[in-house]
């Protein structure tokens, strides 16, 4: 990867349509690299999620056209919420296979074209329309179902095992889980204060998050990402050209993708696919994945880690840009990606591992800096223009690894000290498809 660009994510960009948004991100990406001119690009991979939002079929052809890329090869990528992550991997494959020397990956979404609750309806059409959608299909509802069970498995049965009254025990566990999810929301919103591209940077307290509007019990508004308009692009190329374009290239050393059943109700209750640093004894009695974990995320992580030679992700990754559409799914994903054991996601937050060092979050974070998750602010604070999101993560991770956060953000607070290796994680549906890509510093 040699460059990237992102538009500021916003509720609406009425003065830019999707073509112009992508063009702005593209111009930004090419601006800093004199040798990388349009004629050096062999082809493109273009992503957007929803034809319903676009109401323009074959909209990717219009992006290709507007960028002046005709008659080069191109294809549109769509894979739900993981659309951007898939687009990144499609561009990687175009280069790795030798088909292209230089490939542009570009993505966007324009979600402001309908009212928020209509937008929720479009997104919910990405659930089974025979069995799930007609019940009141609503993604926040699905994620609430998953986290209620996650809290039951790991807080009710562990922290509140001695409470006799079942209802009381579950209420206490949900209150505990909500408090910890709110810490994640505080982290991501606060990190984003230093990211000029973010849609909703703000200083919040745990109480602010808990008291924000209840959307689907127990998930509150501030624990959920929002609809956005935005675009992001990256350029990938082979190693020889990378050295020609920049003295700070970033290597893609692992790609992984996993899937699971479309319906939550169909998820099996089997065994955990282990990562190298785990053992079967860790999870002897754990039915997996059920609805409490994301088997697709585990599968994507396993594939990417194996390819990159990672055996203990917590020690071997310096940061992760993680698909936090919900504060709950960020915690569930820590476990899927092996940053901690299954069941330890809540204490992982309380210990402070995913927080940044040097930022005051308003509560103790003793192990801050151990493995920062969403240093950019993630989806919760940056926004989630679906087709752009996975590419936005790639761009933020790229700037982290290059050590150029200050140059691009005008603020160096979020720059980690010499990170060597990071991961980006893009997630779709109720976890029906997930990608993980590993990026590493490709220079001394």
């Amino acid at each position: 990867m040699v460059t990237g660009g992102v538009t500021k994510f916003a509720k609406a960009h009425p003065s830019m349509d999707f073509r112009l948004m992508v063009k702005r991100a593209y111009d930004y990406a090419l601006k800093g690299i004199p040798n990388l001119t349009a004629d050096r690009i062999d082809g493109t991979r273009i992503s957007y999620f929803s034809d319903h939002f676009s109401r323009q079929l074959k909209a990717a052809s219009m992006v290709q056209d507007y960028l002046g890329m005709n008659p080069k090869g191109s294809v549109r990528i769509e894979w739900g919420g993981a659309t951007g992550g898939e687009c990144f991997q499609a561009a990687y494959e175009a280069v790795a296979s030798g088909r292209m020397d230089v490939c542009l990956a570009a993505g966007y979404e324009t979600m402001s074209r309908v009212a928020t609750w209509k937008g929720n309806e479009f997104i919910a059409l990405a659930s089974d329309t025979n069995f799930d959608f007609p019940l009141g299909g609503f993604y926040t509802g699905y994620y609430a179902l998953m986290v209620v069970r996650h809290i039951y498995e790991y807080l009710r049965l562990r922290r509140f095992a001695d409470v006799k009254d079942e209802r009381e025990a579950q209420r206490l566990a949900i209150a505990e889980g909500s408090r910890i999810m709110s810490m994640v929301s505080v982290k991501n919103h606060l990190n984003a204060l230093h990211n000029p591209y973010a849609q909703y940077p703000k200083r919040l307290t745990v109480d602010d998050v808990l008291r924000s509007e209840m959307i689907s019990y127990p998930l509150t508004r501030e624990q959920i990402c929002t609809m956005s308009d935005g675009a992001a692009v990256t350029v990938l190329c082979d190693e020889a050209r990378a050295r020609e374009f920049t003295d700070r290239p970033i290597r893609v050393t692992g790609v992984g993708c996993g899937t699971d059943t479309m319906r939550l109700a169909d998820r099996p209750f089997g065994r955990v696919p282990l990562l190298p640093h785990e053992s079967a004894a860790d999870y002897a009695d754990l039915p997996y994945p059920g609805v409490h974990s994301f088997r697709a995320g585990r599968a994507a992580g396993r594939e990417a880690y194996r390819m990159a030679g990672i055996t203990d992700p917590n020690r071997e990754l310096d940061f992760i840009e993680l698909h936090d559409a919900y504060a709950s799914s960020e915690i569930q994903t820590y476990e899927d990606l092996g940053l901690c054991r299954y069941g330890e996601g809540y204490s992982f937050v309380e210990r402070g591992d995913p927080f940044l060092k040097g930022i005051d979050y308003g509560f103790p974070t003793p192990r801050a800096g151990a493995i920062p998750v969403n240093p950019s602010g993630g989806l919760i604070a940056c926004g989630h223009p679906v087709g752009a999101t996975g590419l936005m993560q790639a761009v933020f991770a790229f700037w982290q690894l290059q050590g150029t956060v200050r140059r691009h953000f005008g603020d160096g607070t979020l720059q980690l000290p010499k990170p060597r290796r990071g991961a980006i994680h893009s997630h779709a549906g109720t976890g029906s498809s997930v990608t993980v890509s590993i990026l590493e510093r490709g220079f001394r």
């Binding site: 003065s15 309806e121 069995f131 007609p134 179902l145 609805v291």
Partner: protein, 175 residues
């Protein structure tokens, strides 16, 4: 000549104007004008339940059906029917599910998709059945948020005037 649509600098005001007259001009901070219009889009789909049809016809008869793998070494039982087995790929056969189950998980939706906003708050629940390997997602009625818990016994109710939708069945707490 028709008058220019009114100009606004807040997108929220643009949206309000679109509801009134169908066109508005958005004036951005850097002085650009964008013409914004509104148009409707509605469709009737012709949708076959195809291999899932017996399930929906069953609901209309007050029967809750799942499916069971016909392969002797598998025999997986599905709480949401699938006509081929997810585990081994063999065809399944229709079975009657118990109409009693327990909450595997639940939530109360205070918002929803536009189509369901007027029904809020409503409960969604994943129901588990004794001896069945997968779950069923349903609406849970006659119960409020504070009463619900994982493991709660629930039972099925059927719509006497079926709409041929998954909403023809719902669950209530078993009393």
């Amino acid at each position: 000549m028709k008058a220019r649509p009114p100009t606004f600098s807040k997108f929220r005001d643009v949206q309000a104007e679109l509801e009134r007259s169908g066109a508005a001009i958005y004036h951005s901070a850097d002085g650009e004008e964008s013409l914004v219009i509104r148009y409707p889009y509605s469709i009737n789909y012709i949708h076959s339940y195809a291999e899932d049809s017996p399930f929906f016809l069953g609901l209309a008869d007050g029967r809750l059906r799942g499916s069971r793998c016909t392969q002797k070494r598998c025999r997986f039982v599905f709480g949401t029917p699938r006509s081929h087995c997810m585990v081994c790929g063999a065809p399944t056969e229709w079975i009657d599910l118990p109409t009693n189950g327990r909450l595997h998980s639940w939530t109360t939706c205070h918002f929803g998709s536009e189509a369901f906003l007027k029904e809020t708050p409503y409960n969604l629940a994943l129901v588990e059945f004794e001896g069945v390997g997968s779950l069923l997602l349903v609406r849970l009625k006659d119960a409020v948020e504070s009463e619900l818990y994982v493991g709660m016994p629930v039972e099925a109710r059927f719509d006497p005037a079926p709409k041929y939708s998954i909403t023809d069945v719902w669950f209530v707490p078993r009393r």
